[in-house]
């Protein structure tokens, strides 16, 4: 039996590419080993140039690993980035990249968690939350879990098939919205946060992910709504 370390790079082959939004794609990679991470963990993806130059970046897994030799990462084209523009625009099915992981044991959720959970995501910060949300949905856990998702536009909403019609997901569109949109619009308000927290049967622990400014505003508002700081986990970027 072979052993793997999460620090060892492995070759992964692009098997499928799903357009999630104009700037975000989900990549399904076939991998040489079973993928078994828990929800919320991340991997590193490394590219190699013809001259040997390499660059790697961390990306959250889209869903928890299920033991199959498949890994799904959702990657946003950060126009000024070094790795994501190539991944988003140049990679095609059959291409190989190097990947290692999983990493991170803090911003994670497993079905052993018995407390209710409130997830709050901004933009592509929803990626690790999708992993947690679907992991919970597909598990035998019967604890409450709800997601509040702040997105610029309807077009930018990721994982529409999982989120848009779910009774446990609240979406607010901050920049523009379709005429027929009857959900929330505008930035997350204190009132909306408080209403959602009050809708839980018991006080939830919170996971917040997004741009740093978004995370700070949400974390402050959650505390103002009575959530203790030590039950708020955050993951930030930008």
């Amino acid at each position: 039996m072979s052993t793997f370390s999460n620090n060892d790079w492995f070759e992964a082959t692009v098997k499928k590419i799903i357009d999630e939004s104009p700037t975000v794609k989900t990549f399904v990679f076939s991998t040489p080993r079973p993928i078994t991470h828990v929800a919320g963990q991340h991997y590193e993806l490394r590219l190699t140039a013809e001259n040997g130059y390499q660059a790697a970046r961390p990306y959250s897994a889209t869903k928890a690993g299920d033991g199959k030799k498949l890994l799904t990462l959702t990657i946003m084209d950060v126009g000024s980035g070094e790795v994501s523009p190539y991944v988003a625009n140049a990679l095609v099915v059959g291409d190989k990249v190097e990947i290692r992981g999983p990493f991170g044991r803090f911003f994670v959720w497993t079905p052993e968690e018995t407390r209710p959970v409130f997830l709050v995501g901004g933009g592509s910060g929803v990626v690790p939350l999708h992993s947690i949300f679907t992991s919970h949905r597909d598990s035998t856990s019967n604890t409450e879990m709800k997601l509040l998702y702040s997105s610029h536009t309807y077009e930018d909403v990721l994982y529409k098939s999982d989120f848009v019609s779910s009774p446990d997901v609240t979406i607010t569109l901050t920049r523009e919205h379709p005429k027929e949109w009857n959900g929330y619009t505008g930035r997350v308000t204190q009132e909306l946060l408080r209403d959602l927290i009050d809708s839980f049967e018991a006080q939830p622990i919170c996971y917040v992910c997004g741009m740093s400014l978004f995370v700070d505003v949400i974390a402050e508002s959650l505390q103002a709504a009575g959530i203790p700081a030590n039950t708020i986990k955050t993951e930030r970027f930008g």
Binding site: F4, S5, N6, T48, V97, G104, I232, R236
Partner: protein, 205 residues
Amino acid sequence: MSIVNKGFVGKGGADTHRVPPGQSEVTSWPVLTYGPTPHVDTKTWTLTIDGAVNTPVTLNWKEFNELPQLQLLTDIHCVTRWSKLGMPWDGVSIDDLIDLAGGLRPDAKHLIATTVEGYTTNIPVMDVLNNKAMVATHADGAPLTAEHGGPARLFVPHLYFWKSAKWIQRLTFTKEDHPGFWEVNGYHNYGDPWKEERYSDDVNF
């Protein structure tokens, strides 16, 4: 290396004397914190130096700011793969804080830094001596903002930046090592950017 990503050129050409392997230079200063940002009032702020020191001491903000100032012009390296080069940092050297606590006892082998919210990180004592580390109050000439760890954070620039604990409250010197918050959550126990000591090894997961 068998894989070549055709057409990928990256932004190579970084100053390899300054930028450790696998890092990219940034000019912005990203914020990374595992939880909400605490807001620490300098009126109630204290810093305690205790554990394996001869005379443990607690300083208030005024006493701390009357200590001699150290400036380090240096680079910082975040494990999330960005480096920010050539920042001046001001604060009080750990050597001076140790002196104020009567010096280290011979069994002081590790520094355990604790923040106001209870986050900890561990650093070998040799890595914080000889002006290699300080409790910093200013970066780029301006007081540290809350999201960057103000009013004062540990500053150990030769290790990945999670070791430079924000909102520092206590420096405890110990005989035994006590892996801190990120160190028990999958990150490397030491964190040398030049050796890319990013993550701890999980085998057989």
